[in-house]
């Protein structure tokens, strides 16, 4: 029952991710997928710290830490220079959190993919500004607690649909991925690596500290997100062709939410409303996939 993913590790132990950090595992799997002919740009986010302080690094690949908004722009420059300096096949991979992707980095991302820059943009999404202490982002789901959406006034707008936004840019490839489905994640990254142009991969990265969940359940929660259709796994080619890549057994959203303290204040009615939304979105996704 071994997994069909590359064995080679490109990440060392000793990094400072919290115990059970979904983002740490996401990086480990992503690097296995893309291999060592890569330049990784880490945008200001948890991974700026997780990677380790000067003079150390947890990653065995060239890494450029860069400012918060520059995930799309710095990568454009890196790619241009690699091409000018005789390494056109080196993969450029931006590694940004939801803050640096959905919010402050949105402009640079949109600009880069509109230019169809040849790079992979990976957003590892823990659904809030976790590195600064769990403040809301536009990736925070409806109803979630964060320090800036306290229990009295939880997040009252739905999560921004970044994959749809990327698809609307018409980029060659965009997809969602989950650390609980490592083979699907690796396949998608390797597929992205083989396509010229802009590729956007959205990985859900559970954060025990910010989601108020058990570190031991990070994979289970990742899996439940997919199974409950809150975070379905699909890909879009050329902004037009939608394909669902994993069809898991049906699970109600409450199973996913009850394991996280950030949802514990929600009433049954609110959860039902969320279930209804999820069901609607899923139906829309299925309809798109069937065209």
């Amino acid at each position: 029952m071994s997994y069909a993913i590359p064995e080679r590790e490109l990440m060392d132990s000793g990094h400072v991710g919290c115990p059970g950090c979904g983002a740490a595992l996401a990086m480990r799997l992503a690097l296995k997928a893309v291999g060592d002919d890569v330049v990784v740009l880490i945008v200001a986010s948890c991974w700026s710290i997780i990677a380790g302080p000067f003079p150390y690094s947890s990653l065995r690949v060239p890494t450029l830490h860069t400012a918060f908004e520059t995930g799309g722009s710095a990568a454009s420059g890196v790619k241009a220079a690699l091409e000018m300096r005789g390494r056109p096949h080196t993969t450029v991979m931006t590694w940004a959190g939801d803050g640096g992707t959905f919010d402050i980095g949105f402009q640079a991302l949109s600009g880069a993919v509109e230019r169809n820059e040849d790079f992979i943009y990976v957003c590892y999404d823990n659904e809030a500004y976790m590195n600064t202490g769990i403040q809301r982002s536009s990736a925070t789901p409806l109803g979630a607690w964060t320090t800036t959406t306290p229990v009295g006034t939880p997040k009252d707008t739905p999560k921004k649909d970044m994959v749809a936004i990327m698809a609307a840019h018409g980029i060659p490839y965009t997809a969602t991925a989950s650390v609980a489905y490592p083979e699907d994640l690796v396949r998608k990254l390797q597929k992205a690596q083989g396509i010229r142009g802009s590729k956007f991969i959205h990985i859900l990265a559970p954060c025990p500290s910010g989601w108020k969940s058990e570190p031991a359940e990070t994979i289970k929660i990742s899996r439940l997100a997919v199974q409950s259709k809150i975070f379905p796994l699909y890909e879009v080619e050329g902004g037009r062709k939608w394909r669902i890549t994993v069809r898991p057994p049906e699970v109600p959203v409450i199973e996913y939410m009850r394991r996280q303290g950030r949802f514990s204040h929600l009433s049954n009615a609110q959860i039902e409303a969320i279930q209804h939304n999820v069901d609607e979105h899923w139906a829309e996704l299925v309809a798109k996939a069937e065209q």
Partner: protein
């Protein structure tokens, strides 16, 4: 501009880097080494550890089969290795795979995920493969000089002999009948257990150096002094005596004990006319069903009458169903009151209707007569299969303690009489082949211990329930469905096992059950979850966010405790409860 080659390097990948002066520092923030110097293991307060736990199948097997490992070897594509694991514990897999009521399957955790693994079919498959490929068990270690006498060549005696031979002894097995096997040959009909299968497995035992002294009956032409000359004796005489009905008229001709009936058929001795007769079988156990289906095959029309309901029948449910499908009739809640004869020959039986009352000592509802309700069934044959017991006569005079119809024997099969051990049905009365095999193995270990140390004390039997010749590293805790990670187990149905219902039953003793062949057996082995037993599926390794689990020697894993933060993901995700968490510092 400083060169990167002039920068300090760590002495080892996990050594820290320090700068004594500005000159040693790089001109910009750049890495000079890895975070391996940061031993994040100091963060944790709980830690993971690998420990195989006992799977319910192995736990339930009275013979002590190492089920999870032999199925694992079969799943890995090495049936010969699987067979060797199996026969390390049990010399009679071809037998067990056919006749055992398989309590392992009742406990199999797969039953919650589509259906229990057909373990008995896999056991049988391996035995049949061994025969087809000619796999043999190697000779034991250097010969030990002690002489051991085993009385009885049923499953307990055969198992004891086998394990003693593997330990280096050359025991002698005394058997009253002309061929070895005990109830395996004379009690279980050929359509359940073909005799060539039995012969093959007994021959393999003999090839290890076991001597068989046939036609030697204890108390008849085998006397205690001959046995007493041995360094150790194992009594495995079974329960060969049938309990009588204790009703008037049971002495008539045509009334025969179930075991006698079966033995006569097995040895080809004449019974008289069975074809076309009416046969009534009294009893609800396997002997009753065996006798009923055998009588059917001899041409009788058969009714089985049992004093409780079908739910309380001790016989294997599958056997009952096959009997019914073959044409055996059943009558429940009736007990014989009188055998009616004419001219000393059975003509009919008067039955008392029963109802279920309060439970008796066995835990089953005690049948009570319903006054005024009786009926008569005509019969040419009355086959009595209402229980077996020990025949104490041969044991008298040797001071062997017999209590409640059994030889009194302890955990280590010791009887209290010097050098004398007892096991199997004669001592335990447990009544199945698998239990007898387990009992014989325990006795072999006890005898070996006794011969080395002179004592019956201090013998440690691993796993308690069934002794293992090869101890497994597994904690006592038995894995149940709640211990597994259901996210990794897709429900898959158990295979249909074909039973062959011949169009013409009379005279047809060919094997009825088909078992699983080749590809089907491999597929079924793949369905095994391997509860409590690591199979190197890599799940723990893949999901560690700290890259703290890696492959180690021997196909297992090593945890880098210098870095493990104790998050617990590995133990939570392990599909089969082979990886657990404990408090740090324990």
């Amino acid at each position: 501009m400083k060169s990167k080659h002039s920068m300090p390097k760590p002495a080892a990948p996990d050594a820290p880097i320090t700068f004594a002066s500005l000159a040693e520092m790089p001109p910009l923030p750049v890495s000079l080494g890895s975070t391996l110097n940061n031993k994040t293991g100091t963060w944790r307060y709980i830690r993971p550890f690998y420990e195989d736990r006992t799977p319910p199948c192995s736990y339930a097997c009275p013979a002590g089969n190492d089920v999870v490992h032999y199925i694992g070897a079969l799943r890995d594509g090495d049936p010969e290795a699987a067979w060797r694991i199996l026969v390390a514990e049990n010399p009679l897999p071809g037998v067990c795979g056919r006749v055992c009521p398989h309590p392992c399957e009742r406990e199999c955790n797969r039953r919650e995920f589509g259906g229990a693994i057909a373990i008995h079919a896999l056991e049988r498959f391996l035995a049949d493969e061994a025969a087809a490929h000619g796999w043999t068990i190697g000779a034991g270690p250097a010969r030990r000089p002690e002489r051991i006498a085993i009385v009885g060549s049923g499953p307990a005696g055969l198992s004891c002999a086998y394990h003693l031979a593997r330990l280096g002894y050359e025991p002698t097995v005394y058997e009253a009948e002309s061929q070895p096997g005990g109830l395996l040959r004379y009690g279980i009909p050929a359509y359940r257990l073909p005799k060539d299968v039995l012969d093959r497995e007994i021959a393999a035992i003999e090839r290890l150096g076991v001597r068989f002294a046939l036609n030697r009956r204890l108390g008849d032409n085998l006397a205690w002094p001959e046995l007493a000359a041995a360094d150790a004796v194992f009594l495995a005489t079974g329960q060969g005596a049938s309990r009588p009905l204790q009703v008037p008229g049971e002495g008539a001709a045509g009334v025969i004990a179930g075991l006698d009936f079966l033995r006569r058929v097995a040895t080809g001795k004449s019974l008289g006319t069975v074809a076309g007769s009416k046969a009534i079988v009294i009893g609800g156990g396997n002997t009753a069903i065996d006798a009923a289906r055998t009588a059917l095959r001899l041409g009788a029309s058969v009714t089985v009458v049992y004093r409780r309901t079908e739910a309380e029948m001790p016989a294997i449910a599958g056997e009952v169903a096959e009997a019914r499908a073959e044409g055996v009739a059943f009558r429940f809640l009736a007990a014989p009151a009188q055998v009616l004869a004419e001219g000393g020959q059975v003509r009919s039986v008067r039955f008392q209707e029963m109802r279920l009352g309060a439970p008796d000592a066995s835990g089953r509802a005690r049948p009570e007569p319903v006054p005024g309700h009786e009926f008569i069934l005509p019969a040419d044959w009355v086959i009595v299969a209402a229980g077996q017991e020990l025949d104490p006569a041969p044991l008298q005079g040797a001071g062997i303690p017999v209590e409640h119809g059994r030889i009194r024997a302890g955990e280590a099969a010791e009887t209290g009489v010097a050098r004398v051990f007892a096991g199997g049905d004669a001592a335990t009365g447990e009544g199945t082949v698998a239990q007898a095999i387990g009992s014989g193995k325990r006795a072999a270990l006890a005898i070996d211990h006794y011969l080395r140390t002179g004592s019956t004390e201090g013998l440690v039997l691993p796993q308690g329930r069934a002794a293992h010749a090869t101890p497994r590293n597994a904690a006592e805790a038995v894995v149940r469905p709640a211990d597994l990670n259901a996210d990794y187990i897709t429900p898959e149905p158990a295979p249909e096992l074909e039973a062959w219902a011949p169009p013409q039953m009379v005279g047809n003793f060919a094997e009825v059950n088909a078992g699983l062949a080749g590809q089907a057996a491999a597929r079924e082995a793949a369905r095994c979850i391997s509860c409590g037993t690591c199979i190197s599926c890599d799940t723990c390794l893949i999901f560690c966010p700290d890259v703290a689990i890696a492959h180690a020697e021997g196909g297992r894993y090593a945890i880098a405790y210098d870095y493990c933060k104790g998050c617990g993901i590995c133990a939570t995700e392990c599909p089969r409860s082979a990886l657990h968490m404990e408090e740090e510092g324990q």
